[in-house]
Symmetry: C2
Subunit: 337 residues, 2 copies
DNA sequence: CCTTGGCACTCAGATCAGGCGAGTGCCAAC
DNA sequence: GTTGGCACTCGCCTGATCTGAGTGCCAAGG
């Protein structure tokens, strides 16, 4: 038996099943794909594939459907990323180029990804941890209340309100501002934190100390690391079938941003698009969903992750191509900013 | 026939149907509620209620369920807002008091509302349109690139990047900054826009002009008016029943923030909690969902709207109480800020 | 005039049997 | 190694039957 024909059969099964959502039988297979052999031959191949665990029968008198292992093989060895059509490329470019700020880039990316793949899209906001401090700004709201604004290289802006014991005039405020910026500007936030701490005189309990505390707190505040945008939940409606086994757990996971981050996080391996299929990894509740994700960020740094979540029965080549294309384009935009 | 008993029957039907999700028959009714009359009597009442359009039969040999009109009467005349338990009050207080900034307040409110009501919660970010300018800040990133930061009274921060033809030193920057703040600070954004325009010398094409253009653009940018937080979508899983008629259109609406805003917007009538039931209003696709919403904001201004969306068959008294409680508490927090 | 027990009637949903047909596994022939 | 033939399996569709909750109506009682 030709080993590559066996693979061709697997590929055909995956493609048909993804397209039709129905178990695929030997006869339909040879008709739809020009395999050049008889159904009987295909049946033999399928028997072997089943024995090896790549496909399975939902019930005795039905066709075959791919197992997780089958999808895995398909993704790893049989997938040539479907190149995006030029229309799609143009759509990505025009939609993302219209963005006015970081928030908008993320929002648009989510929307775009969900439309391209017709799946649920997830985009993590660029993390603080590797970004640098661009500027610290102080704004007096009243003489004793200060708004501390932190501007990061990624374009993210954090703000905190500080109540002071003392009051400050404009000159003192200006002096404080410049001391803060000298200490922190241009540094990665980890280093900025220590530099700021060092800039506070030993035993100081005045405004400077209070502000630095607030800033350091803002640095280490992982809320921003956990920020995530989700879009295309309406696409869940399309897998009306297994509501309880697939849709419900997924909806729950989408609310749990921590879980989502973990799911996406598995992807963080270089520039490649990562695929998690079915029960791979933890989260058994999500056994019937797959994740296609990749890192993105300016330069070669993967500051954050974006991807899609959908049923294991999904169009992997198309999804992977879309995820890669969007990630590349977003990265390019972040480069310019 | 006693008219108030008829109403009692309607109330009982609504309560039972909401609780059990099943059409309620005359016998079950008298058993569960101490109506003090026989099933036959109730049947007569029900026949009248049906004739008047408050209840209906899904099919001949079934019990009754409330119509939209029935729910409407129930909400308008038969509902005493369920007071929140003291535990619930405390939960609201502790969760919302922990918020660090406006974004966080909104996020927490959504989460809270969805948990209290077990429905999908929607919270609109406070709108720009009525808020005032607290401060304008300029930050030079390079001598010719400026980050313009707009801080509003609601705590919202908008930022824009401006490319200048000229370069500016620190002194010039400071002077510009103070001119901008003199013109805009403390004003409602509409007035701030005209004041800023007036502050630009006739025919000026320099930095001041470019910055003012950017600011005015940020004012009129309605993106921020349309910002919305959605939470608790997982609760949709609970109405597994009518997936296509109820869940799908709702999921789609949740993505369309414009639609959501319109839905919530109908609520803007003073401090009261507004209820839209089923096919009331436009959006026929949402015929089987109801909206419970109310305005909120500092003082008596309703800057924005928050509420929940769920099946017409929902616990109105509970939902209304929760919406009102959260809105009040959020308003109080905005008062302090 | 309202209420109540009685009673015949209706009809959705559950249960079951029979038949259909897609798909399989196996085998003998090429 | 491939192919046609063939008996077999079994999920699902269809139609028939049964059950029971719930109704509408009526005649009797307060």
């Amino acid at each position: 038996m030709h080993d590559d024909r066996k693979l061709a059969v697997l590929r055909a099964i995956v493609e048909d099943y993804v397209a039709t959502e129905e178990p695929v039988g030997s006869k339909a297979l040879v008709e739809r794909h020009g395999l050049g052999v008889s159904p009987a031959t295909v049946r033999n191949d399928m028997a072997v594939l089943e024995e090896e665990g790549f496909i399975t029968q939902p019930h005795t008198s039905a066709g075959r459907i791919p197992t997780d292992k089958g999808y895995r093989l398909f993704v790893d060895r049989l997938t040539n990323l479907k190149p995006m059509s030029s229309a799609e490329r143009r759509a990505i470019a025009t939609i993302l180029d219209g963005a006015v700020d970081l928030d908008d880039v993320v929002q648009r990316s989510v929307r775009l990804l969900s439309q391209l793949t017709r799946q649920v899209a997830v985009v993590q906001y660029p993390t603080l941890s590797r970004s640098t401090v661009r500027h610290v700004e102080l704004v007096a709201i009243t003489p004793s209340r200060l708004l501390v604004i932190l501007i990061l290289s990624t374009g993210r802006v954090e703000q905190r309100l500080v109540e002071l014991d003392a009051t400050l005039d404009d000159a003192e405020l200006g002096e404080l501002r410049s001391r803060l910026n000298v200490a922190a500007a241009g540094k990665v936030i980890g280093e900025a934190a220590t530099a700021l701490r060092d800039a506070v005189p030993e035993g100081d309990a005045g405004p400077m100390s209070a502000i630095v505390d607030t800033l350091v707190d803002a640095f280490s505040d992982h809320r921003s690391d956990e920020r995530i945008a989700v879009g295309g939940a309406a696409n869940l409606a399309r897998f009306g079938e297994s509501f309880d086994t697939a849709v419900r757990p997924l909806l729950e996971a989408l609310e749990e941003h921590v879980v989502l981050l973990k799911l996406l996080g598995e992807a963080h391996t270089g520039g490649a698009v990562t695929v998690r299929i079915g029960a791979e990894g933890p989260y058994q509740e999500l056994a019937s969903t797959s994740v296609v994700a990749t890192g993105y960020g300016p330069g070669d740094d993967a500051l954050a992750t974006l991807g899609i979540v959908g049923p294991t029965r999904m169009d992997y080549p198309g999804s992977m191509a879309a995820v890669r294309a969007v990630a590349r384009y977003v990265s390019r935009i972040l480069d310019q900013a």
